[in-house]
């Protein structure tokens, strides 16, 4: 019996294997469970391709989307359409990278509690969007194709960002082959690039202010036409002799063709890079399209066209909005974001910070540009479009060729400590920039004022 008693210890081998195997798993659990939980198809997080847990609200707590059980969108049809490019549709045609980006925070995973949240799983995402402003923006855009966005240049909060065309995810129309729905799946604010036209003169002006010491004292004479060998740059009419500030306000192509060449193609390119115009913006798991500029090493005429926002210039609306925000913020750019915070069962799993991309221009230059942009509205565009607001802006009308009308562009900001908003409007096939865009942005700023101040 004594021998058998000794032999019984062989069972310890089996016990050891079981214990070690289980411990091995526990180790794996603590190292890898964060990856497992986010793996595609994780049942409590994803529903088909989209994230399938949690709710999303606007800045006031109004429900935008409940992602559990097959997605419930906002009650209002306008709101559903206006916000769709940020939340995605059920079919996954419009992807919502931000929601997947925050899947872990929305799920609220931790190794102790798993995905448990009081009363179920999934958290609440509070966005910086205002449902009211978003709807106002959609209404203001009307039938135009394009994008409009407003953000707080001190905190980075996007108040609204609408891309048109869009559709109601609860009532998906026939899209394939319908011309009005061309590019409907695209979030134009983040994913498109536009020929900027005259709004690019802000970049050229900033580069000139930084590199030409006596630029403010220089004058430019416009005869309506500037020749570069066989090529020419034209204005709609002869502006006569203008100061730099006047040339900017009247958007004189001839003057800016000269200024661009005085700055020089290489330097203009370098400043565009410094202002990050050609860089993508990255926020909330989204990487925007990147703009482009080819001024370096180009012939004078191309440098001229580049400096006035034509040639091969392309800007991304989100990036350009941030650029305007930086001017308003004395040269320091605050990256936009739309996810404010995520809470799971009372616990905050994500909180946005006022992420700064850093200083992109001197505060001196920024302040002169602020003055220039203010001058545009005050003395040229008219303050009466924006009652009670100190708006600084620059319009643009970008020729895109073909039989299309120009892209109407309008960008600027409100110079007000209490309402620090920068904005951009881009309307494709729109026509004259100021004419098309001013009513749009006026309505939106009014809504913003109502939402944020009252």
């Amino acid at each position: 019996m004594n021998k058998i008693m000794g032999r019984a210890r062989i069972l310890l081998i089996l016990i050891l294997v079981l214990a070690l195997g289980t411990s091995f798993f526990v180790g794996e659990y603590f190292i890898k469970s964060g990856d497992w939980i986010l793996f595609a198809g994780s049942p409590h997080i994803y529903n088909a391709a989209n994230i399938g847990c949690g709710t999303i609200t606007d800045r006031d707590g109004m429900l935008l989307l409940d992602m559990t059980d097959g997605r419930t969108y906002a009650e209002n049809v306008q709101l559903r359409s206006a916000i769709i490019h940020w939340l995605g549709d059920r079919q996954g045609n419009i992807s919502a990278p931000a929601l997947s980006h925050y899947a872990e925070a929305i799920a609220g995973f931790d190794k102790i509690n798993g995905l448990y949240a009081y009363g179920g799983t999934g958290g609440t995402v509070t966005t910086t969007f205002s449902a009211k402003v978003q709807m106002a923006a959609l209404e203001a855009m009307g039938d135009y194709t394009g994008t409009v966005a407003v953000y707080n240049y001190k905190t980075g909060e996007l108040i609204c960002a609408v891309s048109t065309p869009n559709f109601d995810p609860d009532n998906v129309p026939e899209i394939a082959g319908v011309p009005e729905f061309e590019g409907v799946y695209l979030n134009r604010f983040t994913q498109s690039t536009y020929t900027p036209g005259s709004i690019f003169k802000i970049v050229t002006a900033a580069a000139a202010l930084e590199t030409i010491p006596d630029i403010l004292d220089r004058t430019y004479t416009c005869s309506g036409l500037l020749e570069f060998g066989e090529d020419r740059v034209t204005c709609e009419r002869a502006h006569g002799t203008l100061t730099f500030k006047e040339a900017f306000a009247r958007s004189c192509n001839c003057a800016f063709a000269r200024i661009a060449n005085q700055v020089g193609g290489d330097v203009l390119q370098r400043y565009a890079q410094q202002f990050k115009i050609t860089e993508a913006v990255e926020f909330d798991g989204i990487k925007t399209a990147a703009g482009s500029l080819s001024a370096a090493g180009e012939m004078p005429v191309n440098v001229a066209w580049s400096g006035i926002g034509q040639h091969e210039d392309l800007v991304n609306p989100c990036r350009y909005l941030a650029f305007l925000g930086a001017i308003a913020n004395d040269g320091v750019e605050i990256t936009p974001h739309f996810v404010d915070k995520i809470t799971v069962g009372g616990k905050i799993t994500y909180q946005a910070s006022d992420e700064s991309a850093g200083r992109i221009m001197s505060s001196h230059t920024a302040q002169i540009l602020q003055e220039f942009l203010r001058n545009n509205v005050e003395n040229y565009y008219g303050d009466d479009s924006f009652p009670g607001l100190k708006v600084c802006a620059k319009s643009g009308t970008a020729e895109v060729g073909g039989d299309k009308k120009p892209n109407a562009m309008f960008t600027g900001f409100v110079a007000d400590e209490n309402l620090p908003l920068a904005f951009i409007v881009a309307v494709e096939d729109g026509g004259y920039g100021r004419q098309v865009c001013t009513p749009i942005i006026a309505k939106i700023l009014e809504a913003c004022k109502a939402e944020l101040l009252e």
Binding site: M1, M5, A8, L14, A19, G21, F24, G41, P43, I112
Partner: protein, 573 residues
């Protein structure tokens, strides 16, 4: 009753959420408390030997015989060590029988064994017979009735009835909480079924405890742990197939029946010896019947359908196999016996190979290895057997490609998460979702995964009740193993020790394949988790195996399957 279920199901959600929020901490805590209370005595009891007789030497020395089978020899590992050069290392075996009589047998000594001066091979001993081994005369003096009573009073009682009742009360509380939280989230149509399942377990455990207290064997630790496992199994079924709880309950009652009857059989070693041939016949017959009449299901032809009942006879064969494999000392000494056993094992493996039941064959193989080692003590034999299994395995994989697929996806489950790795990737994601404390009853996703209540039941429970509970579940099975090793020291006969260790070994191996398979530490083999997986045959088999563990529990007044002192003589029956 129905309106009561309806009112539970329609309870205010705030109450439900708060209840679940509290329960996720309380259930693991209570389970840990119950297990600590039950496991501690199983692993820390004093190993007090039972004394059955004394060998009296002429110099007045009395050597106690603490087993029914005692090896006498010079070797330090003998049960009775007489370190005299004339005595062989293993000289003789003294065996006690159920009627209290003793025999002595020569265990291959050089100088032989003499009884009353006559050289013998085997001889029944009469009182006053003089045994001479290695030239040393001695007498065997069996304990008297008075000594027996005194000795048993000196031994520590295994358990206190109050403690057993207390543990069962705590377990009942746990069961009610788990049941209640399923009733709150389940559909009203299945509420009755869920309630019946849990209530059935509660009734069974109290009846069994009542019976134990009545026969004054109050040790209920092993049973408390088993009922805890059954409760978890019922929870998994409530989550996955709430309509099948009663079916599982019936299986549990049948298992209990087997446990009690097998335990009763095991009380009497003579009876066991007689029954072994029937067990052998039954074990192989079950498999042959399955081969002839069985149904193929998921690649293995191991199901027998009788009316609405579907049973897996190979599970019951495991119990028979332990019965046959365990052997008394005199059988161990006899080589012919081992050869017969090997032949028997081969026959079983052949049946399983034809059935294509890879997982069960593996378990039989491990059981065989355990028995072979416990009987022979030869590491060489085991090595040889393992090597041959390796060859057999390679050939099997060539013949049965579905088994090979399991191996190719092993540790690569994330590369094919929707096909070969589906069950395990869902398992890992759901285990992570549940965290250490679980999402609460009915909140899991694993119910949608194939075999969520059997092959991957670990993940189902982990998701709803937390990883901690599941780790405790594995610990329970480990405790059965450790307990078997501990009781081996005070085994009466090698039959009980081998039986108990093999039974615990089978439980361990099944747990290993099931749990580690689910977790992708090992390939998924589709083996059931004892007491937990949904499946009647597996449940009955697990209870049958527990009878062997119980039969080796020779602590004083611990086990109904062990005959003891006051009641202990055949003439009492």
């Amino acid at each position: 009753m129905d309106s009561w279920f309806a009112s539970i199901a329609q309870m205010d959600r705030t109450f439900v959420y708060v209840f679940q929020g509290i329960l996720r901490y309380f259930v693991p805590a209570l389970a840990a408390f119950i297990l600590l209370r039950t496991v501690r005595p199983l692993l820390t009891f004093r190993r007090e030997p039972e004394i059955w007789a004394w060998l009296c030497l002429t110099n007045g020395k009395m050597l106690p015989l603490t087993h029914w089978e005692n090896m006498v020899g010079r070797s330090k590992r003998s049960d009775v060590v007489i370190d005299v050069p004339t005595i062989s290392r293993t000289h003789a075996v003294l065996t006690r029988y159920d009627d209290g009589s003793w025999t002595i047998a020569d265990a291959g000594s050089k100088s032989g064994v003499f009884v009353n001066g006559e050289k013998i091979d085997i001889c029944a001993l009469e009182p006053e017979d003089i045994i001479t081994i290695g030239g040393i005369p001695m007498k065997l003096k069996p304990r008297s009735r008075e000594q027996e009573i005194t000795l048993s009073q000196l031994r520590t009682k295994a358990a206190n009835p109050v403690v057993s009742v207390m543990n069962t009360l705590l377990l009942t509380a746990l069961q009610m909480l788990i049941c209640f939280s399923y009733l709150m989230t389940a559909k009203v149509e299945v509420a009755g079924s869920i309630f019946a399942g849990f209530a059935g377990i509660v009734v069974c455990q109290w009846l069994l405890l009542g019976f134990y207290l009545f026969i004054r064997k109050p040790s209920f630790e092993l049973e408390t742990i088993v009922f805890f496992l059954c409760t978890l199994g019922m929870a998994a079924i409530s989550a996955v197939k709430p309509g099948e709880t009663v079916k599982q309950l019936i299986a549990m009652v049948m298992g209990l029946g087997l446990f009690l009857s097998l335990g009763w059989i095991l009380r009497d070693l003579e009876r066991v010896k007689k029954l072994r041939y029937y067990a052998a016949a039954a074990g192989i017959l079950l498999l042959i019947i399955t081969l002839v009449f069985g149904k193929e299901y998921h690649g293995a032809k191991n199901w027998l359908i009788i009316g609405s009942l579907s049973i897996q006879p190979s599970e019951l064969s495991k119990v028979c196999f332990v019965f046959i494999g365990a052997a008394t000392m005199d059988q161990i000494v006899n080589k012919k016996n081992l050869i017969l056993f090997i032949g028997y094992t081969l026959a079983i493996c052949a049946c399983l190979a034809v059935m294509n039941d890879f997982g069960t064959a593996l378990i039989f193989f491990v059981a065989f290895l355990l028995i072979a080692y416990l009987r022979s003590g030869s590491v060489g034999t085991i090595a040889l057997a393992c090597t041959s299994l390796g060859f057999a395995g390679v050939i099997a994989l060539k013949i049965a490609p579905h088994a090979l697929r399991r191996f190719t996806s092993w540790r690569h489950i994330w590369e094919d998460p929707l096909n070969t790795g589906y069950q395990q990737t869902r398992s890992l994601m759901c285990i992570a979702s549940g965290g250490l404390l679980g999402l609460g009853a009915g909140n899991g996703f694993m119910k949608n995964v194939f075999a969520g209540d059997s092959d991957v039941v670990f993940a189902t429970l982990s998701e709803e009740w937390g990883l901690l509970i599941c780790l405790m579940m594995v610990a329970c099975i480990i405790v059965f193993g450790l307990f078997s090793v501990r009781t081996a020291a005070m085994g009466r006969s090698s039959f009980y020790t081998i039986g108990s260790c093999t039974a615990a070994g089978i439980l361990l191996v099944q747990t290993m394949f099931n749990v580690l398979g689910t977790l992708d530490v090992l390939p998924l083999t589709g083996v059931t988790l004892p007491f937990v997986s949904n499946g009647g045959s597996s449940m009955i088999c697990a209870w049958g195996l527990m009878a062997f563990v119980k039969a080796a529990d020779t602590r004083q007044d611990a086990s109904f399957a062990v005959r003891q002192s006051q009641e202990g003589r055949p003439e009492d029956e």
